[in-house]
Symmetry: C2
Subunit: 138 residues, 2 copies
């Protein structure tokens, strides 16, 4: 069963006021709101060490993304020339993994407040990583 | 079949001189070599628009990572206190997706040269994204 090696296990879900793809900012810094991550209790031990004010990277599964598309109009602008998805941040891509840099605003019982986050309500969370300035900013 | 929604499709593979986890730098900037990404021809159209000198993010599947671990000793140092995996960049995590910021050094027929990359030879590539300075560096 080769395929089972590549099955993601959502570790939580985004809770956000953003409920439609059309209403989402393209990127967090373009006016995205504060949101909450609800972490599955089975994975809560993995949060140990995160603190308010930390900068983190959230990896999500962009469940409304189209996986059969290899070229897109950047930012959904029909006037922009088609471009390979790997040269864009489109949610449409073979593996629709979203990457979001946010600041932790609150930590609760199995929940994390973050800002700004442009992901839709109910988007599955697949990973959280701390920002490492030397690795991520060069 | 809920699970099929979360199955990753590798789009390529890392070719590198790094062949054992023990020999890998923890992060790219810690002396990692140049490497090549071999992209599956079925996904090659997605590369359109990438160019030499571009800064990109590579998402990999860290196939030697342990998925059943929620606390680790940071950087594998047994003297460091255990910490939740979501507060570390350990390859051991529920979804062992690696994130690597690199510069494109060459573009060939279905291949991309990148530097520096701390991923092992044969590591599956699941996504490539351009760095967006406003989104990724804040």
């Amino acid at each position: 069963m080769e395929e089972t090696r590549y099955v993601l296990r959502p570790v939580g879900v985004v809770r956000s006021s953003l409920v439609s793809r059309e209403s989402c900012p393209k990127q967090g810094w373009e006016g995205a709101p504060e949101a909450w991550l609800e972490i599955d209790p089975a994975f809560a031990d993995g949060l140990d060490g995160l603190s308010v004010g930390a900068e983190i990277l959230i990896l999500t599964w962009l469940h409304e993304g189209r996986r059969d598309v290899l070229r897109v109009h950047p930012r959904g602008n029909p006037d922009a020339p088609l471009r390979g998805v790997f040269a864009t941040r489109s949610p449409d891509r073979p593996n629709p993994v979203g990457l979001h840099r946010v600041t932790v605003t609150a930590i609760g019982e199995g929940t994390i407040g973050v800002r700004p986050l442009e992901a839709l309500d109910h988007t599955p969370v697949i990973d959280i990583k701390p920002v490492l300035h030397q690795a991520d900013e060069r």
